[in-house]
Amino acid sequence: MQYGFYFDQSRCIGCNACVAACKQWHLLPPGAHKWIRVYQWEKGSVGNMRLHFLAVPCYHCANPVCAKACPHGAIQKEEQFGAVLIDPQKCQGKKRCWAACPYGAITFGEEKSGEKASKCTMCIDRLREGKKPICVLSCSMRALEFGPLDELKNTFGGLRELPEMPSGNLSQPSAVFKPSQPKRQILPWDMEKALRLWKSRGPHAAQDSPDLFGSLEDLMEIPANTIGRDRLVLKAKNKEEFMYYTTDND
């Protein structure tokens, strides 16, 4: 049977508990061996801000493109849970699996050639003991669930990807999603007026106090590379960039 994950983006707060739980359970060292990663990226500017969170394990795809890409047959799909597993004995560290996976699920700790690939095992050690993956049980927002994929689809619907995620048409990830919750305007809030008020230091300020900003354009126009995490980058160019996109400033 195929098991899979459910991720509720509307609940995620990007706290990285899933990542910490995974790393310690699987005795992974600090650094880029993140079998589940949490991405955080911002969109918009003052007044229409959104912050997106995405926790990405391996989706143990129905059609594991990583396995197909491996010339050594090191990646196999396991029968009982549908877990896609890497056999370190067979892996030669060519990283073709990494190139094939649209989600960046394969991790390498260092940038050494020949280094073996590693990734999320669906906590198969735990599954065989009747326990769920450690990430799912560690989420304090209860944003993750795990189970037979068909059951998850019945319970949570069939949404197979979130905005900005790559299409799962080819690999067919074993995951369903709920997107972030839309904002509601409860109170009238006139952005231009609010920003005009913000710009002024206020009634108690000294006459020659500097304004808080120059013009609205200063706050709205975003030159390239000024803001760092402004998009979802699942497949970073190198380790440094990978660590950047999978950390936050909280």
Partner: protein, 810 residues
């Protein structure tokens, strides 16, 4: 395959985050080491999204897993980071400087003999006020002082001092009792609130209840349609995930908004007259109403008045007031501690609590807590130790100002500062005539109830530079801790404290966040090296100071039976818990069961969500104020004859813990006054950016700073800067910048974002302290940039600061 654990035990995470003692960890132990952990599974085992299988009653009664947060899940890695751990008594290597961190091992006997000798010598030579303890008050040491007959302690904490003072003045609840008076659990919010409005609250970073469970409850409320509004200068995880609407507000100006809301309530008559008639003292209410409506100063505190201060448009303030007062009753309003940990914080919290009072929202179901987040039922879990000794330990300074208390003495001695000014500056709260006798020589720091909790002096309180200078003035510094920290490095002698969570058997109680439970730490691993429990240390010091050890700790018999004695103390403590619940007709697990993975879920033992207010005034019992009602106007503070008394007592003779001898600019009723170093201070000409120093999600003050699985792995320590402010300084994300003001300078990388409003910046508190020769802190801790606001009487001033940021070229 990973090794199979030889034992798996439940323990409780105790690390002094906001959720302290709330999270439960299943530790896998092998060879005396914790090799892996799992989250709690004592409810709903094997369920990921627990709310799918829970009723509303289950949520209210908190029949939930106590899942640990990110830190709790990797705490055990830190436990075994031996390079930071203190395992033996250490003495600074002779000839090395304080702060260098070079220590050599000595025996416990030598360490304790040395400390006792130095204390006795200082007392003989410099008088009784020569051994002092800095931030924060240390009850254990204070008890030792009380039998010894000398020593000085401080008053005041960072956590919610404004609430502790205002709680006493408004509601007659002394000190920490304000916690008992907290109302409305998260379950109550979920079940009953029609709208949730939060000021400055970010439970997606901070920990309230187990991990981010408070955030989850707010999200659950939002999912069932309860509108959630956040006012914060930052677009936080709370703004994104929990809130329907985010409204930016200038930091430090929330009090103006509360007054404007009160104006609308009075003017449009949304006052809950029934509640007010029963529970609010009428004359004080009239005085405040008169101020709010502008009858006294000619300035009505209208939304139009407030919008120019806080930048929340008047229409927004009016609409919000009508929603919370009329359309969405009851409203869960919460102005978080951060909002009050600023200059004028007492006025802010009092304005908020007064607003809640006129809306009838003190402790009524679904209405949010007036002072403190999360109930704490009125029983103690520590068995009594008997009365303290005959010496009443004086509180010479507010704990944040211990360094200023030391440094400014010179100016008093040479006449540059009057004694009055000195007392004002440091928050003196003792007999005013003792200033001349104060002669601080020995600093005794740490070793209270949570020896690994934090490292307050140089990295978590204000002005690292002054902390260091004041320490340099000390002839002898003792530190008791479980870890080498930037502060411990300045000690002359370090005592190795037993790790409270992993090594010691402890009874513990979750306090904050509205999820109350009594938990146990079984002592997961054997104590490492020669670490000792803090009680043992004080008992042994007591002996050396000529005090009968049983006076200090009545459960002690002799060293050979320490474990047995301590166990008896724990059991007697637990009996008190059993007794409390038995009196209410509830059975709780016996000791044996409790200590083997059992626990008490207090919320489950009661039919309805707990609010302390029902136990007091809402149930018909008058408050312990003079009028028996909520007092918006404090007659005590209004009476100038009281100012200058060494200590202040209420009409029942109870000490007002947080009121210093001279309360400086504290007003008898909530008013708005611009903050020193606030958004509109003249100093903005030089330092135009307001510095926030919010907590990090991934460390508790200094604890975990060097955790390899947290910093750099999951987060980066950077300064948040608004896009516009960054562009004006040609700063791009990741650039190195200098952040500086007249107090210091730090070097740090920039996090450029639209998630913080222009003119506001953020460096998360705690962190390291690595000053280079030019004094620039490359650690860096924002403490380096912080300093005391001398005008505000009780508020931790560290949250009100201005800085400038410049790009570092090259």
């Amino acid at each position: 395959m990973p090794p199979i654990a030889e034992k798996v035990v439940y323990t409780t995470c105790v690390c002094n985050c906001g959720g302290t003692s709330a999270c439960v960890i299943k530790a896998h132990v092998e060879g005396g080491k914790v090799i892996r952990v799992e989250p709690d599974d004592r409810y709903n085992p094997g369920i990921g999204m627990e709310d799918r299988v829970l009723s509303q009653g289950d949520l209210i009664q908190n029949r939930l897993q106590r899942r640990p947060c990110t830190m709790g899940l990797v705490f055990h890695k830190y436990l075994h980071m031996e390079e930071e751990r203190i395992l033996y008594p250490l003495r600074r290597v002779p000839g090395t400087n304080r702060g260098e961190g070079k220590f050599g091992r000595i025996s416990w006997d030598e360490a304790l003999d040395t400390i006792a000798r130095r204390m006795q010598e200082a007392r003989a030579q410099f008088g009784p006020y020569s051994t002092i303890t800095p931030f924060a008050p240390n009850n254990s040491l204070e008890r030792l002082f009380s039998f010894w007959g000398a020593g000085v302690d401080s008053w005041g904490w960072c956590s919610f001092d404004p609430q502790r003072l205002i709680g006493h003045l408004m509601a007659g609840t002394p000190g920490w009792n304000t916690q008992e008076f907290a109302s409305s659990s998260a379950g109550d919010m979920l079940a009953n609130s029609k709208i949730i409005v939060l000021w400055g609250f970010d439970p997606t970073v901070q920990h309230h209840g187990p991990a981010h469970q408070f955030a989850w409850f707010i999200k659950l409320a939002r999912e069932k349609g309860t509108p959630v509004i956040l006012l914060d200068p930052r677009y936080t995880g709370t703004a994104e995930t929990l809130a329907d609407q985010w409204i930016p507000i200038k930091p430090g100006t929330d009090g103006a908004m509360f007054l404007a809301m009160a104006y609308v309530v009075f003017q449009e008559d949304w006052v809950d007259h029934d509640f007010v008639r029963k529970f609010v003292e009428p004359q004080g209410l009239e005085k405040w109403k008169s101020y709010v409506l502008g009858r006294e100063d000619g300035v009505p505190k209208t939304p139009e008045w407030a919008e120019r201060i806080c930048a929340v448009p008047a229409e927004t303030i009016r609409a919000l007031t009508r929603l919370v007062a009329r359309d969405c009753r009851p409203a869960w309003l919460w102005n978080h501690y951060s909002v009050n940990r600023k200059a004028q914080g007492e006025q802010t919290v009092k304005a908020f609590s007064s607003l809640q009072a006129i809306l009838g929202y003190w402790g009524t179901p679904g209405s949010g807590p007036p002072m403190n987040l999360g109930p704490r039922r009125p029983f103690e879990i520590a068995a009594p130790w008997g009365p303290p000794g005959p010496y009443k330990v004086p509180k010479f300074y507010r704990s944040h100002h211990w360094a200023q208390a030391v440094l400014l003495l010179d100016q008093v001695r040479n006449g540059k500062l009057s004694e009055d000014q000195y007392r004002q500056r440091i928050g003196w709260r003792a007999d005013p005539s003792l200033v001349q006798a104060f002669n601080p020589r020995i600093l005794f720091w740490g070793g209270g109830s949570r020896p690994h909790a934090s490292d307050h002096l140089v990295t978590a309180t204000e002005s690292s530079g002054e902390q260091v200078k004041a320490m340099e003035r000390m002839e002898f510094i003792v530190s008791m801790h479980s870890r080498i920290t930037p502060t411990a490095k300045f000690a002359d002698l370090i005592l190795p404290a037993m790790d409270w969570m992993w090594e010691q058997r402890t009874l513990t109680r979750s306090q904050y966040g509205g999820f109350e439970s009594i938990n146990f730490c079984p002592g997961v691993i054997p104590p490492q090296g020669e670490v000792k429990p803090w009680i043992w240390v004080y008992v042994k010091l007591a002996e050396r100071l000529g005090i009968k050890p049983q006076d200090y700790f009545p459960y002690y018999t002799d060293d050979a039976h320490w474990d047995r004695d301590y166990e008896r103390y724990l059991q007697e403590s637990y009996q008190r818990v059993i007794k409390y619940w038995k009196a209410r007709g509830k059975e709780v697990p016996p000791w044996e069961q409790f200590t083997q993975g059992g626990f008490i879920n207090c919320d489950e033992l009661e039919e309805k969500a707990h609010t302390g207010c029902w136990d007091s005034f809402l149930g018909g019992k008058p408050l312990n104020t003079r009028s028996g009602k909520i007092e918006i106007f404090s007659d005590y503070v209004a009476d100038e004859r009281n100012r200058g008394k060494g200590e202040h007592y209420d009409h029942l003779g109870r000490l007002i813990d947080n009121l210093p001898t001279d309360w400086t600019d504290l007003q008898p009723m909530p008013v708005y006054a611009p903050a020193v170093r606030g958004m509109d201070d003249p100093l903005t000409k030089e330092y135009p950016l307001y510095l926030l120093t919010a907590h990090s999600r991934y460390r508790v003050h200094y604890l975990f700073w060097n955790h390899p699985w947290l910093r750099k792995d999951l987060y980066q320590h950077r300064v948040w800067i608004n896009l516009g402010d960054a562009k004006a300084r040609r700063v791009k994300d990741g650039d190195w910048v200098r952040v500086f003001n007249d107090r210091g300078e730090v070097r740090i990388q920039a996090y450029v974002t639209s998630r913080i409003m222009p003119g506001v910046t953020l460096i998360r508190q705690g962190a390291g302290y690595e000053p280079r020769e030019d004094g620039v802190d490359w650690g860096p801790s924002p403490s380096t940039l912080l300093g005391g606001d001398v005008k505000s009487c009780t508020t931790s001033p560290k949250a009100t600061n201005l800085v400038q940021i410049e790009k570092v070229e090259g």
